[in-house]
């Protein structure tokens, strides 16, 4: 019995491996969460990747060959993400893998890729621990330190002294809250409370009422679309929105909210108005018939584009050559998410953000 099952498994596995079409294309890999709790962000990352591939191939591909990105689902599970990364490296023999979204997954797959001498490009995780992954790891998204400094300065400039931080109880939220607190207290402000909510709840009234009891000068919050919509709605319903709200990544926080609920909110967001940004936004709207779902699609797009540029420059897709070229290309590279410049540890050193305020008639750039 056992022997028979094992035999069939082997046959199945071999068959599946043989069935993978021979690759004439240049292929790189991507691991994103297409199922599980972060599927919305993962899908948006995939869209960005897809748009970049379309655009690159329409313009002649990489090194004269069509580019292909093999997108694998991590399921939000570290073991599955590692399955996917190992499959991309060992079977598809890709020179580079981009992804993931959650820091808890990006770290192990990044470390694995570095061990294998492959390139890793982080497109969604902002934990400062990403910095230590290793010599062939890059980030096209600014890590916490970058965005926290910006938003803390912006908040302090509004004259708010006592603030409450509201964020999701996950790796992103923890990092955001921690980073913001450090930077804000350096500027003399005080974080009176940090409220990390469990994602995906059907109501946040209780959390909002707890936060309101502190009577802060402002709430600093960050939330993914679906949670953000509910939080904004309930803050409006409870009248908690009479205190100023400041959104970290404005579009992500308010994507699904009705404008009435978020009028008067302050915030910061990624700058899409780089040379490449406007056309990217339009391409996205054209292909998917909607505004960005989250702030994350642009990083997927930029990662693929910058890889293609570096490969073309290096004249090869061999990881070490592309790495060297990436460092060269990554000096004032005009990305959809703004100018990309890598620091000495290959992390995005600066990110231009917008300072925003929502008004009755639209969005003001402050």
């Amino acid at each position: 019995m056992m022997v028979r099952i094992s035999a069939w498994l082997t046959v199945g596995m071999v068959a599946a491996v043989i069935a993978v079409p021979a690759k004439a294309d240049i292929a790189i890999g991507a691991v994103v969460p297409l199922s599980g709790a972060s599927a919305t962000q993962g899908e948006d990352q995939r869209r960005g990747i897809e748009l970049a591939v379309d655009e690159i191939n329409a313009a002649g591909g990489v090194l004269g060959q069509p580019l292909k990105v093999i997108v694998e689902d991590s399921g939000g599970r570290p073991p599955s993400a590692l399955d996917a990364a190992k499959k991309l490296v060992a079977v598809d023999k890709v020179p580079a893998v981009i992804g993931e979204y959650s820091s808890g997954i990006t770290l192990p797959i990044g470390q694995y890729l570095v061990q294998e001498g492959k390139l890793h490009v982080n497109i969604g995780s902002s934990s400062n621990k990403i910095r230590d992954i290793g010599p062939t790891a890059f980030s096209v998204i600014g890590l916490e330190a970058v965005s926290s400094k910006f938003s803390a300065e912006d908040v302090a400039a509004q004259g708010w002294k006592n603030i409450v931080i509201v964020g999701p109880n996950n790796a992103y939220g923890h990092g955001m809250a921690e980073g913001f607190k450090t930077e804000f207290e350096k500027l003399g402000g005080k974080v009176v409370s940090t409220l990390l909510y469990t994602e995906g709840q059907t109501s946040y009234r209780r959390e909002l009422q707890q936060a309101a009891q502190y009577k802060p000068d402002a709430f600093i919050y960050s939330a993914y679309g679906k949670d953000g919509a509910l939080i904004n709605r309930e803050a409006f319903e409870l009248g908690v929105n009479k205190t100023p709200w400041y959104a970290i990544y404005f579009s992500m926080c308010t994507a699904d909210s009705k404008p009435e609920y978020v009028v008067g909110q302050y915030g910061m967001d990624l700058n899409y108005i780089g040379p490449d940004g406007k056309s990217y936004e339009e391409a996205y709207k054209k292909k998917y018939g909607a505004d960005f779902k989250t702030s994350f699609s642009g990083y997927g797009y930029d990662a693929v584009k910058i890889f293609a540029a570096a490969a073309n420059k290096a004249g090869s897709v061999e990881p070490q050559a592309v790495k060297a070229a990436l460092i060269e290309v990554g000096k004032d590279y005009p990305g959809a998410t703004g100018t990309i410049t890598f620091d000495a540890e290959r992390q995005r050193s600066y990110q231009p953000y917008l300072k925003l305020k929502k008004t009755e008639t639209g969005m003001d750039v402050r």
Binding site: M1, M2, I5, S6, L9, G12, M13, A16, V17, A19, V20, P21, L34, S35, G36, A39, R46, I70, V71, E72, D73, G75, G76, R77, P78, P79, S80, L82, D83, A84, K86, K87, V89, A90, V91, S102, S103, G104, I105, L107, P108, Q111, Q115, E116, S127, K129, D132, N169, N170, A171, Y172, G173, H174, G175, L196
Partner: protein, 296 residues
């Protein structure tokens, strides 16, 4: 390719240990544990906490054992005067509470960001040979677990487990201390689960609360049900089958040009469909339990 196969085999062996452990509880003793992943989590966090306090892997292993003994005793304590289905819900809640603590106690557990950079157990200079040695260790642990569990279940102790599963009232009438039995089974089953977690932490080099979702428990359940409740070989085969199917889904996607969402839904369909299909059509699993196996 061989590298990928090695990875699939390592993960399959780690899950096979979890499946053996769950099978001892559910298959032999009828303890419907929906918090199995918490036992695994004791092992992963044992390794991670030892690392973050600059203690060696040996200390990590010991810490994992201490944690898992506490959790196993708590589970067993809950098992008192609870029906099997109620106990399932109770263990599920404890698993969720422990995951919540792991997520929130940032100062201790690193919170949602977890603890990364845990060193590989065997640093031989080349990552591949390190992974080969780790796989050998995992395999040895799996085989040791298998033999130990087989010895348990083929002995008179195993008979008392099965009596507890089938007719607890009869077991009590025979004078078996049901609470004590539950405690011993939970302890026996918890050790390999924690060992699996410990090795997993050093293999993945990262430990975080996202590894402890209740859905992981259900993956292990599918392995056990597919393989056959009450059969050690079944649990191991079930783990291999499910892990291989998981690993193969992306290839099927490439080969047939299916959209990526397919992979996402497919994983749920494999777990849910595998469970329900086997329960309905082949409840004894691939390798049925042997009745009358205990003799001289």
């Amino acid at each position: 390719m061989s590298e990928f196969a090695l990875h699939v085999a390592t993960i399959a062996a780690l899950y096979a240990m979890l499946a053996l452990s769950l099978n001892l509880q559910a298959g032999f003793a009828g303890l419907i544990n929906f918090g199995q992943i918490a036992l695994f989590g004791c092992g992963t966090y044992g390794a991670a906490l030892a690392f973050s306090h600059a203690l060696g892997p040996l200390a990590g292993f010991a810490l994992g054992l201490v944690l898992v003994v506490l959790v196993a005793l708590l589970f067993a304590r809950l098992g008192r005067n609870l029906g099997a289905d109620y106990w399932g819900i109770a263990t599920l809640s404890i698993g969720e509470i422990l995951r919540t603590i792991a997520t929130n106690e940032i100062d201790i557990t690193g919170g949602a960001q977890g603890i990364g950079g845990i060193p590989a157990l065997f640093d031989t200079g080349s990552p591949l040979s390190g992974r080969l040695i780790l796989f050998a260790v995992v395999l040895a642990a799996l085989i040791a677990t298998w033999f130990a569990f087989r010895r348990l279940t083929q002995s008179k102790f195993g008979l008392s487990l099965r009596l507890l599963r089938e007719e607890p009232q009869l077991a009590a009438a025979f004078g078996y201390d049901l609470d004590g039995l539950r405690r011993r089974i939970m302890l026996a089953a918890a050790l390999p689960a924690a060992l699996s977690g410990f090795l997993f932490a050093h293999y993945l080099t990262f430990v975080g609360p996202d590894q402890l979702f209740a859905s992981e428990t259900f993956v292990i359940w599918t392995m056990v049900v597919v393989g056959g409740l009450g059969s050690h070989a079944g649990a191991v085969i079930g783990a291999i089958v499910v892990q291989c199917l998981f690993a193969l889904v992306p290839f099927a996607k490439d080969a047939f040009g299916l959209p990526s969402e397919f992979v996402a839904a497919m994983r749920l369909v494999l777990i849910g469909g595998g469970l329900i299909g086997f329960l309905l059509l082949r409840p004894q699993g691939l390798i049925p339990e042997r009745i009358g196996g205990v003799r001289g």
